[in-house]
């Protein structure tokens, strides 16, 4: 083999290593098409989009906390809490807008609370783990208390239902919301001074602090965004199911974490963005979709998902070398 050819292959190898996530996504799409003839049908694809958008919005929030050098395990609890508040308040007050406002307020409060705790402890990932584990318990408890542990059925306003069920030109509104949120976040992260400062503070808080970046403020912002995204995800989820369970967020934090990390967002902070969220959420959704299409038991699905997360973490570590 000539040197030119060799270097071409090395470069291709390097590209493949840097884009493992994209290759995995393509492989899954091919696998889906081979396994099921319905895979490429518009209905299946749009159903898929609708289904992944809740996790997609959650993954945006989780990624924001990764970018500022932490992570958030409480977003599942926040999702449950916001869901029961949103549906419950709509039911009791008759106003969907009031319910949503309450959910968004609660989500922001929960996120900001995590952010403040991170500021106070000057925490990194270790503190984030414990802090959000604890606040997650609080969130779950609030959800359970509010609805006395029972599911709340409701969602009456048509426009509320449309968020999760409706389409614009046969494209699900939920997916549009998800994509718009990703675009907005991506612009903030990549194209504004604020976003660049956020990423710098996540990548190396010492050097960021020394150039006068408000590292703590960035942490507060990242975690508050995670709370807000959980609230928005709760609104989309409840509008689809027209009900809220205090357990609906169980495991949702892990789904978001897996999607975010599988997509290529790094655990070390400051590296990643919404392209990775898009790829990760699609990979994760496709895996679920394929496992369902092929009729694999849901218990086995957990094994597969767990294995994927472990693989993604190992790849992240190897790529950092």
């Amino acid at each position: 083999m000539s040197d030119v050819e060799k270097s071409k292959w090395t470069r291709a190898g390097g590209w493949a290593r840097d884009n493992t996530n994209l290759l995995l996504l393509v492989a899954l799409i091919v696998a889906g098409a081979l396994l099921s003839e319905n895979f490429f049908s518009w209905t299946n694809l749009m159903n898929l989009m609708r289904r992944i958008s809740v996790n997609g919005v959650m993954a945006i929030g989780f990624t924001m906390t990764l970018l500022v050098g932490g992570f958030d395990l409480s977003i599942g609890a926040t999702l449950s809490m916001c869901a029961v508040l949103c549906v419950g308040i709509e039911k009791s007050s008759g106003s969907a807008a009031l319910g949503m406002a309450a959910a968004i307020g609660a989500g922001l409060a929960m996120g900001a609370f995590n952010g403040v705790l991170m500021m106070v402890t000057r925490g990194g990932s270790g503190e984030a783990f414990l802090i959000t584990l604890a606040t997650g318990m609080v969130g779950t408890a609030i959800a359970l208390t509010y609805c006395s542990g029972l599911d709340i059925y409701g969602v009456n306003a048509e426009w509320y239902k449309a968020i999760g069920q409706g389409n614009v030109a046969s494209f699900p509104i939920a997916a549009i919301i998800w994509i718009v949120l990703m675009v907005v976040m991506q612009v903030i992260i990549k194209k504004t001074q604020f976003g660049r400062k956020m990423i710098l503070s996540g990548a190396n808080k010492k050097s960021a602090f020394l150039v006068g970046i408000d590292v703590n403020g960035m942490k507060l912002f990242g975690f508050t965004m995670a709370g807000l995204m959980a609230a928005l995800a709760a609104i989309i989820m409840t509008s689809r199911t027209t009900a809220a369970s205090p357990y609906s967020g169980n495991g949702a934090d892990f789904d978001a974490a897996i999607a975010s990390i599988v997509g290529g967002n790094s655990l070390v902070g400051g590296k990643g963005g919404m392209v990775q969220v898009l790829i990760g959420v699609m990979i994760y959704g496709l895996i679920t979709n394929i496992l369902n299409l092929t009729g694999i038991d849901s218990v086995v699905q957990y094994i597969v998902k767990g294995a994927i997360l472990l693989l993604a973490i190992c790849l992240d570590k190897l790529n950092r070398r």
Binding site: K191, T192, Q193, N204, V211
Partner: protein, 492 residues
């Protein structure tokens, strides 16, 4: 005294790019207290680590009572009767005194630990140095002096015949120091030899019998303490030719740009006041641990301050934070490039623009073309050697990494540039370029504060020199008084 007990013969040790020890020979007698002195980087600590088995010498031999010994690691050293007490003490603070003294040999061959006996033996060793304390006490509760006592007791428990002390006095109060001296005299009585490293020459005159001076990895001389003076020691320490060259510059010192009044960091021992002028390079000399870096960190607002104020162009800084300092026009190139100066796995260009993102903003958004232009401007201006502006700084050499840090601060157009060890760990060619950059800055009317532990650099670059010692500015030198002997006299 009873003839040579321990001998070092022709020991050399190299690290990549540095000859840390160059054919060092010395011998020491039983009951002798030997001082080992020298500038930063003279090779004292390296020698200690070779004796202790932490480093393996490239060549040369060690002899105890005339027999060659091979010390492959600290455990072997301890068995041969050599113990070292490091400046940063090697104790486990969560464990008791007794456990620390007998760490690693609490029981033999997996037999159950006999706590009562361990404590009794620990108590005996503590008694021998007159340290009256319950061996069950947790080490974390002891003062630095107390921990040092435990280290000495531990050395005795290994039946040490030679105890190496690396700057034992650095964090002791006068009272504690007296106690340490009493213990050393007692060790001497028992025939134990001590090698005592200290930057405080006064101590050497009060406790040591003999003194060995090291410089650039070599032993310059050994003599009885009673035969030398402090001046003589300093002369031996610094007496070298300055082989490095420094770029010439014209001196145009203008009006005052920075004034520091009674600044004291939290936990600091002294207040500092000084000023700085446009067109001036202010060198800050002193020994490692003299509080130079800490003073600058307090000035820039990185560490908390306990009082004092900073004026830039006559205006007082609103608060003590990097944000306020940077806005006022101060740049701070830290000693620790990798951790504090750079975002190591980001590209060159994002590192260059990070301190002033405003320079790449167009209509409220970051502009990629502007970012590239800014990066290219500095890559060319200060000759950063790289195939691409998108290269991660991780992949650059030390000198080029330092240039990226310089570029980052150039982009803020600050009037005052604080450089902490600007040429540490970079090669000679890149050093010269950094000096040229400094000259260039002052010729533009900016002001530079340069902390350096390399005397030639201080001598070659500074218009004025402040010497620091124990957190205080002990001397301000200008003109002909900027010379090695004067600086070292104040620094020690």
């Amino acid at each position: 005294m009873s003839g040579t007990f321990f001998e070092v013969r022709d020991v050399s040790k190299s690290f990549p790019g540095v000859k840390a020890l160059d054919c060092v020979s010395m011998s020491i007698e039983r009951g002798e207290v030997r001082a080992l002195v020298g500038e930063n980087g003279a090779g004292k600590s390296t020698l200690m680590k070779v004796l202790n088995g932490n480093y393996k010498a490239d060549c040369g031999s060690l002899l105890i009572d005339g027999c060659e010994v091979h010390i492959s690691d600290p455990t072997v050293a301890a068995q041969k009767g050599i113990s070292i007490i490091f400046q940063e003490l090697n104790l486990v603070s969560g464990l008791s005194i007794a456990e620390n003294i007998f760490a690693g040999r609490l029981s033999e061959n997996g037999k159950p630990i006999r706590w009562r006996e361990i404590r009794k033996k620990a108590k005996q060793y503590l008694d021998r140095i007159g340290f009256d304390i319950d061996p069950k006490t947790e080490v974390g509760q002891l003062s630095v002096a107390g921990k040092q006592m435990v280290e000495i007791a531990k050395a005795l428990s290994y039946n040490a015949q030679l105890i190496l002390m690396d700057e034992p006095s650095a964090s002791l109060t006068q009272n504690e120091l007296e106690k340490l001296f009493a213990i050393i005299r007692d060790l001497k009585q028992k025939g134990i030899a001590v090698i005592y490293i200290s930057h405080r020459l006064e101590e050497i005159f009060s406790i040591c019998d003999t003194v060995t001076v090291m410089r650039d990895g070599q032993i310059i001389g050994t003599s009885a303490v009673k035969d030398v003076t402090k001046d003589k020691l300093v002369e031996m320490m610094v007496g070298r030719e300055i082989s490095q060259t420094f770029p010439q510059r014209e001196h145009h010192i203008q009006e005052e740009v920075l004034r520091v009044e009674n600044l004291i960091r939290k936990g600091g021992k002294a207040k500092i006041s000084f000023n700085l002028h446009r067109g001036e390079v202010l060198g800050i000399a002193g020994l490692v641990g003299a509080g130079r870096t800490e003073a600058m960190r307090a000035l820039y607002g990185v560490d908390y301050i306990a009082g004092g104020s900073v004026y830039v162009n006559g205006k007082k800084l609103s608060s003590s934070s990097p944000q306020a300092a940077k806005e006022a026009g101060i740049a701070f190139l830290t000693e620790d490039r990798k951790e504090e100066g750079l975002t190591i796995d980001f590209s060159i260009k994002s590192n260059i623009v990070m301190a002033k993102l405003r320079t790449i903003v167009k209509r409220a958004f970051l502009n990629n073309a502007m970012e590239n232009r800014v990066a290219d401007k500095y890559i060319q201006a200060i000759k950063i050697k790289t195939p691409s502006r998108n290269q991660k700084v991780l992949n650059l050499s030390g000198g080029n990494q330092q240039k990226v840090v310089v570029a980052k601060w150039f982009n803020t157009d600050s009037d005052i540039i604080i450089m902490d060890e600007p040429t540490r760990g970079i090669d000679v060619g890149a050093k010269f370029e950094i000096y040229e950059i400094i000259n260039d800055l002052v010729s533009q009317g900016k002001a530079v504060i340069m902390i350096s532990s390399e005397l030639p650099e201080i001598l070659g670059m500074s218009d004025r020199v402040l010497v620091m010692k124990s957190d205080a500015i002990v001397a301000e030198l200008i003109g002909a008084r900027i010379n090695a002997v004067d600086i070292m006299n104040y620094a020690f």
